[in-house]
């Protein structure tokens, strides 16, 4: 009997530790939603910030939107093509091994190092300046592994029989991939890329020196312009003003918008994933 009591005790302890963590995260979300919700208004979302740190965040929202669009335009085709090569064509060999090592390495590179790299290559060497172009390319390098890995997963989920049937009917390899594999894999690939978008939207370190502006009330005119971006804007609001207490409402509002954007994208991806998994049950 004594044994049973101690067994229950340990199980409850593990449960307690797990749920205390859930509670901490819950509190963080609650704090930001609670204090940020009062600030959210149509004016906050659609006006420019003023010099004293108050005002709206419209340019930051637009800036993040441009950055994310540029990032995905580069990373999605590259990532999908890489995944198709790795799952459908690649044989075990030196090149494949190298590509896999590169992807794992890339996934582990700290975001600030991507910032240094973007500064060295895109901003200075290729002379793009601190611009949307340089920032998007830097972010694209960062999220490439996420897109490749999730695209591979959804390609592998398509049963081999579909490919065999198509090849047996005389279709070539590419025809098979295009007509029998991709239609089933594309939803999963797009889902994975939403996760990449979420990461690109929330990262600050890679854009510090490649695109983000400290204060900029205007909207960008070309891809060679600087922009405000939500994460960097929050950082500036929280740390660079002499009286951070006075700017607190704007800080909470910006944090909430960023959080809603990133978590919204992630929840969307999770929901879509479950949806597609249910639709195709092989």
């Amino acid at each position: 009997m004594r044994l049973q009591v101690s067994e229950q005790l340990v199980i409850w302890l593990v449960r307690l530790v797990t749920y205390s963590m859930v509670a901490v995260v819950g509190y963080i979300l609650f704090d930001i939603v609670w204090k940020g919700a009062g600030v959210l208004s149509w004016t906050f979302l659609t006006t420019s910030p003023s010099v004293d740190g108050r005002g709206g965040i419209f340019p930051a929202i637009i800036g993040t939107f441009y950055l994310v669009t540029g990032t995905i335009a580069v990373a999605l085709p590259l990532g999908m093509a890489s995944a198709i090569y790795l799952t459908e064509y690649a044989k075990q060999g030196r090149l494949t091994g190298l590509i896999r090592l590169a992807i794992v390495t890339l996934a582990g590179v700290p975001s600030i190092v991507f910032g240094l790299f973007g500064l060295g290559l895109f901003v200075l060497f290729l002379n793009f300046g601190t611009s949307i172009l340089a920032g998007s390319l830097t972010l694209a390098c960062m999220i490439l592994p996420t897109i490749i890995v999730s695209s591979e997963e959804s390609l592998r989920a398509v049963p081999l029989a579909l490919r065999e049937a198509s090849l047996a009917l005389g279709a070539t390899k590419w025809e098979t991939i295009r007509k029998s594999v991709l239609p089933y894999a594309i939803p999963g690939m797009l889902t994975g890329s939403i996760l990449g978008v979420g990461r690109a939207a929330g990262e600050t370190a890679p854009i510090l020196f490649t695109v983000a502006a400290f204060y900029l009330p205007n909207l960008p005119r070309s891809i060679f312009d600087q922009v405000l971006a939500l994460p960097y804007h929050l950082y500036v609001l929280a740390t660079q003003y002499p009286n951070p207490e006075q700017v607190r409402p704007t800080q909470y509002g910006t944090a909430l918008v960023l959080l809603l954007l990133v978590l919204g994208l992630n929840v969307g991806a999770i929901v879509l994933r479950t949806h597609f998994r249910k639709r195709y049950r092989w």
Binding site: L3, Q4, V10, I11, L13, R15, V17, T18, S20, M21, V25, I28, D31, I32, L78, A81, S82, Y85, L86, Y89, L95, L98, I99, I103, T105, L106, G108, V109, P110, S111, I112, V113, F114, G115, L116, F117, L119, G120, L124, F125, C141, W174, G202, T204, A205, L208, F209, P231, Y232, L234, Y235, A238, T239, R248, A255, L259, V262, L263, N266, V267
Partner: protein, 291 residues
């Protein structure tokens, strides 16, 4: 027929080229960090990085010693790992072995969501809520300390630890569990004496990957650790990590100056550290999966 064959080849080559860009990017990262950092080798020389102090802007004697930055990063990483391990391992055990299927369906996506919270938002929360708490608890003049950063970073490492450990725990053969239970061991004994040891290398790899994430994290750290570059091992002292140093100083230095080059060396050290950590973790995972 000819057109079809040409198209096949064309597609194949395009795909190879696309897939190889990952290799190209990794090479370019090393190349361009070194390119910006290399004039430092001639003057003041690599030995300057071994000095005891990081005083890049001093009027009397500039000093580019990496020691305080490295100890800062190590201190914060060690503390964060120490906090994250019990939560991560308990969480993984709970989700894999104790939680019901319904509970698991809710907990797993929730953990994934935690991993997605932008670090700058966590840093902001740390600045506004955690720092005053630390300040009050330890009666300090400022709440911006190594431990404040470590608490936030632990939160970022936990999802990595849980996701990979849970995977490792679930891939322990069911026969182990059955055998243990059949011998009269209860659930708790089976979990801690059979399942966790069998999944140990996977759990260790998950902790190392979590550490890799922590040591490379920038925004949460820069906002809450106080940014004083000093060599210390005290958790309640203000420190400056390698990542925070780059983020805080690169924006203000003249391009091409010694200070600028020194910051690229910090980046190289950081890159090598995370690269090694990830490499070892991947090896451990691979060896474990084969076994």
């Amino acid at each position: 027929m000819f057109v079809r064959e040409v198209r096949e080849r064309l597609v194949r080559y395009t795909l190879v080229v696309c897939a190889s860009t990952s290799i190209l990017i990794v090479l370019l990262i090393f190349l361009f960090l070194l390119r910006e950092a290399q004039p430092f080798l001639r003057s003041p020389g690599l030995g300057a990085l071994l000095a005891a102090e990081w005083k890049p802007k001093s009027m009397q004697q500039v000093s580019f010693g990496l020691l305080p930055l490295i100890t800062g990063s190590l201190l914060v990483t060690a503390l964060a790992t120490a906090i994250a391990i019990p939560f991560g391992v308990c969480g993984a055990v709970y989700i894999a072995e104790i939680a019901g299927p319904r509970e698991r369906e809710i907990l797993k996506p929730f953990i994934e969501l935690v991993a997605a919270i932008p670090s700058v938002v966590l840093g902001f929360f740390g600045l506004v809520v955690v720092a005053p708490l630390v300040k009050g608890t330890f009666a300090l003049p400022s709440g911006l300390t190594a431990i404040t950063g470590a608490i936030l970073l632990a939160l970022m490492a936990v999802p990595t630890i849980i996701t990979i450990s849970e995977d490792a725990i679930r891939s322990v053969p069911k026969a182990y569990k059955d055998a243990s239970l059949a011998l009269g061991a209860n659930r708790v004994q089976t979990i801690w004496k059979v399942i966790v040891p069998a999944a140990l290398s996977g759990i260790i790899a998950s902790i190392m990957l979590g550490m890799g994430r922590v040591i490379g994290e920038t925004m949460a750290v820069i906002m809450v650790t106080g940014n004083a570059p000093k060599t210390t091992l005290s958790p309640i002292s203000s420190v400056r990590t390698m990542t925070a140093t780059i983020a805080a100083e690169l924006g203000e230095v003249p391009f091409g100056s010694e200070h600028y080059q020194a910051l690229f060396w910090v980046g190289i050290v950081l890159l090598l550290a995370t690269f090694l950590l990830n490499l070892v973790a991947m090896r451990v995972l691979k060896a474990y999966r084969r076994a």
